[in-house]
Amino acid sequence: MSLDTDESPAVKTGLEAGWLASHTTRERVELLAVAATGAIAVAMLAFIVLDWLRFAPLPAGLDATAATLFEQFMIAGMWLDFYLGTNVFRFTFVWRSIATGALVGVVAPVVGVFLVHRQMALIGETLAHTAFAGVAVGLIFIALTGWTGSLLFVALVVSALGALGLQWLTDRTDLYGDVPIAIVLSGSFAVGTLLISWGRDFAAIAIDVEDFLFGSLAIVTVEGSRLVAVLSVVVVAVVALFYKQLLFTTFDAQAARVARLEVDRYNTLLIVMTAVVVVGAMQILGVILVAAMLVVPVAAASQVARSFRETLYLSIVVGQVSVLAGLGISIGASLPPGGSIVVVAIAFYLLAVAFSDHSTGAISVH
């Protein structure tokens, strides 16, 4: 992701003079970490695309090429199993979960960095509960109509509508900003539970709702991983394109209005992107824990970063490492992935607090 903001002439001159000479050890380590994170994200994106293409109606030869390339991932999985003494990485659904998680680990902090610094950390939790209502709506709709579309797509639509509704409510209330958030959070969950209870009386609901509450590797479907792949590309592209505007409106909305930036439009863009990320992350992390990926990596990065750009990059690294390590623990110890990932992320946060020189607190508490 190329974010063009404050690359100083000094840095540019440094690049010309030589990459090694112009960066400190810390910068070199960070750049390598970001590059590795990006490479993993691209590889996982490639896996999902190949998984998609090998069954897609492609011109002769291309489907075979996709299948051959896809096989290389599976062979790599077998080697991993061989060296680790495991019996998991040879299965497509495990790779699918890892790929989906790795992408979520990138896009959640990309959006979260703006949310956290607007003091909107809880909005992710709210939209996750809205998405849960969306899952309930989708389950009922599928049970009643026999529709074969994606459950997550219904959750995405409901969550995006919930995001817009929340913003509408916030703009039209005189109470504190967190009151509409609390109302939508609990209201969505209430609607979700009512719909599921009501639906069970007359329709067969085949999905374990607990999987959506706490996250599960088993509910990452082919459609779900494709949806996350597409949404990840879109979210990263949108943030790269509008980074300057999102940064300015986050830092000083009033001054951004004076500079004639369309602040309300960027607020809407951010909240809809949050809904999108939440639906993608919900599969792995579950409704209850999804907000953590929006907040915890950013909180950890904010403790040690020296600029906003560095915060963004470090939070992506922390996000992806937390997901991969958490999934490793989850697979190895047969624990829920959501809890494992969040505990790893919080461990990073505590480490960052312990080693931070920003002792006055990078994140204010209200």
């Binding site: 690359e7 100083s8 002439p9 000083d252 004076v258 004639r260 006055t360």
Partner: protein, 247 residues
Amino acid sequence: MRTVVDVRDVTFAYGEKVAVEDVSLSVDAGSFLGLIGPNGSGKTTLLHLMLGIKRPDSGHVELFGEPADAFEDGERIGYVSQRSTDRGEAMPTTVREVVTMGRFAHVGRGRLSATDHEIVADALETVEIGDLADRRLSQLSGGQRQRTFIARALASEADLLALDEPTVGVDADSRERFYDLLDDLNRGGITIVLIEHDIDVLTKHVDSVACINRQLYHHGDTVSFLESDALAEAYGAAHGVVEHDHP
């Protein structure tokens, strides 16, 4: 002389509560206007109306000769909002990142050019914080933070600088140096509108004063303001200006 802001018969209310009532005033290019009035007197609302980020319920505001709410050259205005010294306390932004925001209205979705970076560097040097460029804003004193926001306005190459109580939370020495900087910028041709509570500081630096408490009680040069009863009328009690030093 060219008029930068022209406010004509403007009224604005928050629901039933009228904040600004039938106010008319103008700001000429190159002038330094001080807005004064008691707490809750509508100063900030009037400034927002002048800048076109609020629409009047009645009346008309022009900014650089265009209707203020349709004015689109945001880069021509530099704005330092109320309590801006609090900004960046939690957000890990560097001084350079904040000042670079002044170029965003110029480049839109495009990339920042080498010229943009040079303008940012010049703005930092002008307010004498070039050596702090890569420090986090939260590590700066109140006075240094204010200079950062002024540098952001300079980086936008603004013709109009609007400041809403910019020295709240800033120590006295930094305040004096800050107002000297504003004087220099004004002498360089930048039009300034300043909201300030300290009448003594205000009258030392501005060349005209608008005294408001919902309605406009005075709009004219500093001498006529000091000779008028506007202050007592606006504040609803006997008020006078007492000369004092800021140690």
